[in-house]
């Protein structure tokens, strides 16, 4: 890899140990992915925020790093383990809360915007087309490349952190225009056009595609279906981008049979004790829709609804939350379905959700059974 004199000096530690660590990470990942140089990025979105995922080793590292590190570019962060406003209602240990707060403080000290959201593309203004960013949240990276006209690799926790500290990333994979051209097209062949089907389409595509894939047979995607597709794709593989439209390269079909196979893989029970919505977290228009669907209805079961703090506040101001909370919906912010300790197998046997990503992590990490069905079906079967 070719480095500038300035980068070389930072790597050698001439500008302090923090920058040396950050450049070592960028160079190591760059060498591992055959990058030829580094390039500037304008925005880093970090994963590795939830104590449940990074543990003591991560907490200690960030506490150490934050003693003198400062982020160089706009830096936003993924959800953490719980909603601090409602955490006392849940059985979360003092230890967990203490460690999670330490992680939060470390990121704050380094200058992060404490967004605790997996949908940065929906709650922040987007930079101009073609801008390089560094997104570690997989659904956000895929959305950035595919819908927001931004460029990012599907970054990991460390490469995005190093990007935040240096304002740079390695010039490889999807940052290069050649790699953005898909060599495989998935032909959408099923008539089902709900968000769950698009989530499963994404999950299917992620399994079979390389770094970029084309999807034909889909003219338009509403925001809910689009987020679902991005999240499904990010869950199952390394693919970081899709393009809607014409067939390019090899083709594969996603029809009824393929959808059924994925549903069979992720749906492990026919009923659940609680309902969870919001993986990815819901945006304002989704809360608006939900509020409309719930008119005159009540959830039969406990329903946890995850959305960013900024979205919840806006929704409160315009009144969308009234109908949702009256119907029994529980709004949670700063956290998400994935890897939250709020859903524990000692209290819950099965969880109902319309999220493919949520289903995957509930099963593999929280070890609970999942009843996967679309929002319309949840409304029909789980409310009165």
């Amino acid at each position: 890899m070719e480095l500038t004199k300035e980068e070389e000096a930072s790597l050698k530690g001439e500008h302090g140990e923090t920058l040396a660590i950050a450049y070592r990470v960028l160079v190591a990942i760059g060498e591992a992915t055959n990058a030829d140089r580094l390039l500037p990025i304008e925005w880093a979105h970090l994963s590795g925020v939830n104590y449940n995922t990074i543990g003591d080793a991560g907490e200690e590292f960030l506490a150490n790093l934050s003693k003198d590190a400062k982020f160089k570019v706009k830096t936003t962060v993924n959800p953490m383990g719980f909603d601090p406003n409602t955490v006392s209602k849940y059985d979360i240990s003092e230890e967990f809360i203490k460690k999670q707060n330490s992680i939060k403080n470390s990121y704050k000290k380094m200058g992060a915007i404490l967004s605790f959201s997996c949908i940065p593309y929906e709650i922040f203004d987007l930079p101009k087309n073609g801008t390089h960013v560094s997104f570690a949240e997989s659904n956000a990276a895929i959305y950035a490349n595919s819908m927001a006209h931004l460029k990012t690799n599907k970054e990991g926790a460390f490469s995005a952190l190093a990007s935040a500290l240096t304002g740079k990333s390695s010039f490889s994979d999807l940052r290069k225009d050649d790699s953005r051209n898909p060599s495989l097209t998935i032909r959408m062949k099923t008539d089902q056009k709900d968000e769950l089907t698009y989530g499963m389409l994404g999950y299917f595509a992620g399994k079979v595609a390389g770094s970029s894939v084309a999807i034909s047979g889909v003219k338009e995607l509403d925001r809910r279906s689009c987020k679902s597709l991005c999240a499904g794709m990010g869950t199952s593989g390394t693919c970081g981008m899709f393009t809607l439209g014409a067939v390019r390269g090899e083709t594969m079909d996603f029809g009824k049979e393929e959808a059924q196979k994925i549903h069979d893989e992720l749906n492990t029970t026919d009923s659940g004790d609680i309902i969870t919505l919001g993986s990815p977290q819901l945006g304002l228009d989704e809360l608006s829709d939900l509020s409309g669907m719930l008119k005159g209805k009540t959830f039969k079961k406990r329903c946890m609804i995850f959305c960013p703090r900024a979205v919840q506040e806006q929704a409160r101001r315009v009144g969308f939350t009234n109908e949702i909370e009256r119907a029994g919906g529980e709004l949670l912010s700063d956290c998400c379905i994935c890897l939250t300790p709020l859903i524990d197998k000692k209290d819950v046997d099965g969880v109902i959700t319309n999220s493919v990503k949520g289903a995957y992590y509930l099963k593999t990490s929280n070890d609970v059974d999942v009843n996967l069905k679309n929002l319309a079906q949840i409304m029909k079967e789980e409310t009165i």
Partner: protein, 127 residues
């Protein structure tokens, strides 16, 4: 022979070869450096101060923090040699400043367990 350098540096020590890939998050005790996975061929052995030779890392990327903890607790390997570099091992060695190189199959197979070597990961050489 020239090894592909992932994290630069120099290290001297005894080679310890793992036949199986290593899951740093689950299989390594970060306080002692010992492999605690009973199914691993290095079970019970400590990685401390060795030149660790293993195929590649597996499991959660959070394992990179474990590599950093090993170094902070003075029980990390002095260097690592892999046959295939994964992002977790690369990130972890970068965080902890542990020299890391990637060897081709031929180079990898020529390494002998227990042998003392000097790894020059600035120039990608074994002396």
């Amino acid at each position: 022979m020239t090894l592909k350098v992932i994290v630069k540096g120099k290290a001297q020590g005894q080679i310890m070869i793992a036949k199986k890939p290593i899951n740093f998050l689950g299989a390594v005790d970060k306080k002692t450096g010992k492999i605690r996975d009973e199914k691993h061929d290095l079970f019970g052995k400590s990685l401390a101060d060795k030149i660790l030779v293993f195929p590649f890392g597996v499991g959660s990327s959070v394992g990179a923090y474990t590599i950093y903890s090993l170094k902070s607790n003075n029980c990390a390997p002095r260097a690592m040699i892999c046959s295939k570099v994964d992002i977790t091992t690369a990130s972890g060695c970068a965080l902890a400043n542990i020299p890391l190189v990637m060897a081709t199959k031929e180079e990898y197979d020529s390494l002998t367990d227990g042998k003392k070597i000097l790894l020059d990961a600035d120039n990608g050489k074994i002396l």
